[in-house]
Structures are given as C-alpha cells and as structure tokens.
C-alpha cells in the first residue's frame, strides 16, 4: 500500500496517504479503548433500546426469537395516554425542578460555608457530608420511610408530642404532595454533597484578587457573589446543573421503594417507575423501552437548552 504512488498529481508538499494515516492513527489508537468501551456499554444498549421500542416484545418473543415490528404504536399509546400528561409527566418534571433547585441552592450555600473554614475543619465537614452521599439510595430511602412511618415513625412521634397531630389519623404516603415532599428531602439530602464539593473545588480556584478588587470598589457579600463568583464559576454551575437534572429526572429507587410507590398508588407514578412496571412488571419490554427513550429524549432537550443558555461556545 505504502508504495502506491499518487500518479495523477505527484506533489512534494502533500504527504503520502500512508504518512497521513501514520500521523492520524496514534490519537485514534489511544482513544480506541475508551471508544470501544463506550460503544459496547453505552451505544449498543441504546441502539437496542431504541430498536426494542419499535417492537411488540414480550417474553414469548424473547424465547422464540421472534420479532414483531409495530413501528410507532408504543409511542402512540404512551402519548395518547392521559396518565402520561396528568400524572407521570407533571410528577417527573415538577419533582425534578424542585429537587434540582433545592440541591443547587443547598449545595452552593454549603460550599460557600465550607470555603470560609480553615483547612482541618473543611476536611472534617467535607468528609461528614460525603457520608450522606456515599449511602446507597436503597438504604437512604428505607431510612426516610422509617423516619416518616405514619404509625410509629420518628416524625409522627415528634408531631404528636408537639400536639400538631393526633396519632394514627393520617397516612401521608397517600397524599401526592406529601409523598413527593418526603421523596424530595431524600433526594436533596442524598444529592447535595456532590454538588457542594464540586462547587467548593471551583470556589477555591477563583483568584482572591478579584474579591479584593471588588471589596475595594465597595461591593457587599451578595454583590461579590453575583458579580465575581457566579460569572467565573459558570461552567461548573452548568455541569452541576446538568448532572443533577439528569439524576433527578430518572429517579427510580427512591420512589419505587416508598409505600405505594411501586405502582399501587398510581397518582405518585413517575417516568422511571412507569417504565419499570411496564417492562419488568408486565413483560411489555417494547413499551418499557419506548418510555425510556422518551425519558432520554426529554433529558437531551433539556441538556441542550441548558448548554445553550448557560454557556457560550467558547466556554466549553
């Protein structure tokens, strides 16, 4: 190959094809392991899910190796279902919006606080909050369910002691707002440490001179935060925002494990639980895949909007 001369237009300045290949190859070789891993672990399953979402796929299709394409019927069923528009989507989007806002707020405040501490105290406090982050969602959820148990839980006990509640008269799991309120506490509690630590890392890179200059100019704490911290930290905020949006949109464990969250109380269903009960619960794998594809599409749209509004192109 390398000897094949380019007979049509021999040119001294243009390197031969082989030379160009030699130069182009190393970066791709270096990237190859990562690309192959991504392809196998991410791209291929995604293609499979998209393919599945166009089929009527049940247990018998799996066992008999049959394929039954119904093209967009799954999507049509989902998109014409009132359950999606009145319950699942509002629950998913509303819950994610509240959780993302709360996680970002708490995370930022905690980061600002940590930034003011001396190094030993900062390490102690950071470790402490990271413990909350390291607790598996499953364990964390059981703890919240136990705390809020309406019959004999800690919270019911405190409310009763304060005279705000008569024992055994309510079951807040059945109330859509209370259910998601408790779920939000769980998710924010579990999610803020990561945000706080990431923002703290960003805060520590903001040049001190900027703050000094701002102070000389007479800027107060709030003004310094708004005009110095926020603009410098914009990319970090963007990453945190996108990550927590993704996490809070596809929340499943924390909802599924709460009383009534497994589908027995339909008013608290979200996209993740819906997809699961269709696919794993009822064996409608095609339908479950279609719901998952919708969730992914929704997240993609939101991420793009974020990136467009938060970052100019040269920031990335």
């Amino acid at each position: 190959m390398s000897t094949a001369p380019s007979t049509a237009a021999p040119s001294v300045r243009r390197p031969s094809r082989a030379a160009r290949l030699r130069r182009a190859l190393p970066p791709w070789l270096l990237l190859a392991p990562a690309l192959i891993t991504l392809g196998v672990l991410l791209l291929w399953p995604m293609i499979r899910v998209a393919d599945l979402s166009l089929q009527k796929f049940r247990l018998r299709h799996l066992l008999r190796g049959e394929r039954e394409y119904i093209v967009l019927e799954n999507y049509q069923k989902i998109l014409t279902d009132d359950h999606l528009w009145l319950t699942v989507l509002p629950n998913t989007i509303g819950f994610a919006a509240v959780c993302v806002a709360a996680t970002m707020l708490v995370g930022t405040v905690v980061a600002l606080f940590l930034n003011t501490l001396s190094t030993p105290w900062r390490i102690i406090c950071t470790t402490a909050i990271m413990v909350a982050w390291a607790v598996p969602a499953l364990t964390g959820t059981y703890i919240f369910v136990w705390l809020f148990d309406p019959h004999s839980g800690f919270v019911a006990g405190v409310l009763e002691w304060l005279g705000l509640l008569e024992a055994d008269t309510v079951n807040w799991w059945n109330n859509r707002w209370a259910f998601y309120g408790i779920a939000a506490l769980n998710v924010v509690y579990h999610g803020f440490p990561f945000i706080a630590v990431t923002i703290l890392a960003g805060l520590m890179t903001v040049p001190k001179e900027l703050y000094e200059a701002a102070r000389v100019d007479g800027a107060g704490a709030w003004r310094r935060f708004a005009s110095v911290t926020v603009p410098t930290m914009r990319p970090i905020f963007a990453v945190c925002l996108i990550l927590s949006t993704i996490w809070d949109f596809k929340v499943f464990t924390q909802i599924y494990l709460m009383p009534g969250g497994d589908g027995s109380n339909r008013s608290v269903m979200n996209l993740g639980v819906w997809s699961y009960t269709e696919a794993a619960g009822q064996g409608h794998y095609g339908m479950g895949a279609a719901i998952a594809v919708l969730l992914t599409a929704l997240l993609l749209v939101i991420s793009v909007v974020y990136l467009r509004t938060l970052l100019k192109e040269d920031d990335l």
Partner: protein, 430 residues
C-alpha cells in the same frame, strides 16, 4: 432432543404435541432409568428452607442411588428470580428442573419454556395424588406443566391476650361474627388496631371477594373476562374496606402496608388480629417465643360460613424444555414431590406439602395453629385465574391499586372495581 428444539421454535399447540410424543416414547422404558455419567441441574429458591444444605445433600445421595445420575443444585434468590428465568429460558443455561412460583407457571408454560408432564404423572399413578388447587394452577389448556411441591395459605392470626381481654375466644362463623370480634377488641382497648386492612396486600382482599361468591375473573372458552365488578365481588370489596372506612377498625397507616408491615405491628403488640401466611407462626416462634405462646388462629370466614376460599400460593417443580434428560428430570420431580422428600421439605420450611397424603399427615399430627391453616387450605384453597396473562395483572398492581384507591377514599368500591375490571380486560383482550 430434536422434538425439544422444535418446541422452542413452534407454536404452543404443536409444541405440546411434540413434547408429548417424545415423553411418551421415553417413559415407556419404565422406571429403571439409567443415568450413569449424566448430570442434572436443579434450581431451588433461596430462603424458603433454613436447612437447605442438609436437604440437598440427602437429595443428591438418594437421586444417585435411584438413577446413578449426579445432581447439581443451584440455589437462586427469589429477588429477581422471575427475570433470571426469563433470561435463561431462551438459552442453554436453563436448568433441567426448577422450582417455579405457582403464579408464574402458566406464564412460562405459555412462553414455551416448560415441558408438559401430565402423561408421565398419569403413568406413574400420581395424577390424583396432589392437592387439587395446586395442580390446577399448573394446568394450562388441559396440559400439566409442573408437579406441586409445597404451598402456603393465608388465615387469621390473633393475639390471645388481647382477644381474651375483650372476651373473644371462638372462631368467627361468618363475616358478622368477625366484625363483632373486631369491635369488641376496639371497645376493650381503643389504642389497639383490631383488624388492619393492609392496602398493599391483595391476598387479604381475595378471601372476601371469593367469600361473597364473587370471582376475580371468569373463563369462557379461550378468553378471560374480569368479574371483579360483578355484584358479589363488589360486595366483598365493600365489606372488607368498610372495616377500615366505616367501622374504623384498621388504621390509616395500614392503607399502604404490605404483609410484612402488618406482621411488624403485630409483633409489637399493636394489632389484635390480622391476615397472614401459614409460614408466619414459625417466623414468630423463632423471633419472639413469648409471643408465639399467645398465638391463636382462625380461618378467614366467608359471608355465611366458617371458611372462605383463600389464595393458595407455593411452588411447582417444572421440567424445562431445554433439558437433554427428560426422563431423569421426571424422576427427580417424582422423588421430590412425593413421600419422604416432600414431607421433609414441608416440615423444614413450615409450608404445607403439595402431596395430599402428606398434607393429611401434617393436619392430624400438627398443633392447633397448623390445623387451622390446614383447614383453610383443604376446604378453601383457591388459585388466582390460571392464565399466562395473570402475571401482567400482578405486575400492573391492579388489585393493590383497587384497595389503595378505596381505602384512601379516592373512589367508592363499585367505581374502583369497574376501573380494575377495565384494566384487567385490557390485559386479557390484548
């Protein structure tokens, strides 16, 4: 073997015929099966039997003696077992024989994963030896896809101290007497929960639907039609939920309870009586012996009689279509579901054996608690609709949703039953 491969490829009807042909000719050789040098794989579920290891060792020894074949036993956790079965059924890693939950058997059989054993049971003289309701739940379109191994049933368990303080000491003969008993408990001590209505447990509701003469769904020809919105079923749902809503004999928290939550409350002494499984007394005995001494059991009454039909759940032993040794597989099923091994398993697990004679033995030799549960099982043992589609109704949580909706006052019983019926019919018609 060729026949067996075709089973996977072909439709259900032709599959059954081919499978039968294969089995028929195989078993004509009789019981002198020579399994020398062959190995069979068996899956059983984790956690049912505390002394599984000893049981498996005995089983391996006995199986080797009987057939000269080796046995590999894999213990699978219940959690995720359904998905695991589904995943292996298409491939070569499927077991030869496995324990399958009774409500899964029709689904797996319909999908083509299980091999019918009806003719071999007939030939071995075992056809009529199993508990009827359990065999029914393994029967799909006239074919038997598994042999009953063990089962449990739900009845009422009560706290003797609380009951005798309230002057309740006898088996309720009908709904009214059950209500009277619960009301007496409430009157004596308003802080107890006399009879919790657990919203997350469909098995508490079913005896009341059946006990009023209702059905969940009815079969006509090849299709099923929901019957849960018919008047007897609605009457059952109304009466059961009224215990909580009208008579206030439950607690609001119970509307999201599962069976385990009710048990936890009972163990704390907060609950007078509750509906629970026949395996629960043994659990209580292990955790709190002093509470065990205070236990009392009643059969769940029907509207006008002592024993309502109650869900009979358990496991079948099934032969999988991928097996290369159908005869040996059947020998193993026979060994485990009859005689010594059936009785021992039941004894070790505190479940009831699927073999009728072994069950009778347990009833006559067991204690008072066992006798009550056994009575519920023999006189009232009933299966949920035996259709491959039932798994979807379970997966959709149709009945827990019905209970939850009524208990939280979202809808009245009749409307909620209509919604549930509509949901079931959508699944049945699909």
């Amino acid at each position: 073997m060729i026949a067996r491969r075709t089973v996977l490829a072909g439709g259900a009807a032709s599959a059954a015929a081919l499978g039968l042909a294969a089995c028929g000719s195989d078993s004509s050789k009789g019981s002198g099966t020579d399994g020398k040098g062959k190995t069979l794989t068996l899956w059983i579920m984790e956690g049912t039997n505390p002394s599984t290891d000893a049981y498996i060792a005995d089983l391996k020894k006995k199986f080797k003696e009987a057939t000269q074949a080796d046995l590999t036993v894999e213990v699978q956790p219940w959690d995720g077992a359904h998905d695991k079965f589904v995943n292996v059924m298409g491939g070569d890693s499927a077991p030869d024989v496995a324990e399958v939950g009774t409500t899964w058997t029709p689904e797996f059989a319909d999908a083509g994963g299980l091999d019918p054993i009806g003719d071999e049971l007939e030939e071995a003289g075992l056809s009529g030896k199993y508990v009827k309701a359990l065999k029914e739940s393994a029967t799909l379109e006239g074919e038997v896809f598994g042999a009953p191994w063990y089962a449990g049933v739900r009845s009422i368990l009560a706290n003797k101290d609380l009951l005798s303080a309230a002057g309740v000491d006898k088996q309720p003969g009908n709904w009214q007497e059950l209500l009277d008993a619960a009301q007496a408990l409430k009157k004596k001590d308003p802080s107890t929960i006399p009879f919790p209505i657990s919203g997350g447990s469909p098995f508490g509701l079913l005896p009341f639907i059946w006990g009023a003469g209702g059905e969940i769904a009815k079969q006509s020809g090849d299709t099923w039609k929901a019957a849960i919105a018919d008047s007897p079923a609605v009457e059952g749902v109304t009466w059961y939920t009224d215990i909580a809503l009208k008579h206030k004999l439950s607690t609001p928290a119970a509307s999201t309870w599962k069976e385990t939550d009710a048990l936890a409350a009972f163990q704390k002494g907060d609950v007078g009586m509750f509906i629970t499984g026949s395996w629960v007394p043994a659990t209580i005995k292990e955790k709190s012996p002093e509470l065990y001494d205070k236990l009392m059991a009643f059969t769940i009454p029907a509207k006008d009689s002592e024993v309502a039909p109650s869900f009979l759940g358990g496991s079948h032993l099934c032969r999988f279509t991928g097996t290369k040794e159908p005869e040996l597989a059947f020998e193993l099923i026979k060994l485990m579901t009859t005689g010594e091994f059936a009785a021992n398993w039941a004894k070790q697990t505190n479940f009831f054996p699927g073999e009728q004679s072994a069950l009778d033995e347990v009833v006559t030799s067991g204690d008072d608690l066992t006798a009550v549960f056994a009575k519920q099982m023999t006189e009232g043992g009933k299966s949920v609709p035996v259709t491959p589609l039932w798994g979807q109704v379970e997966g959709k949580k149709t009945i827990p949703n019905l209970l939850n909706t009524v208990l939280t006052g979202g809808k009245d019983a009749a409307t909620a039953c209509q919604d549930a019926a509509k949901e079931m019919d959508q699944i049945f018609d699909d």
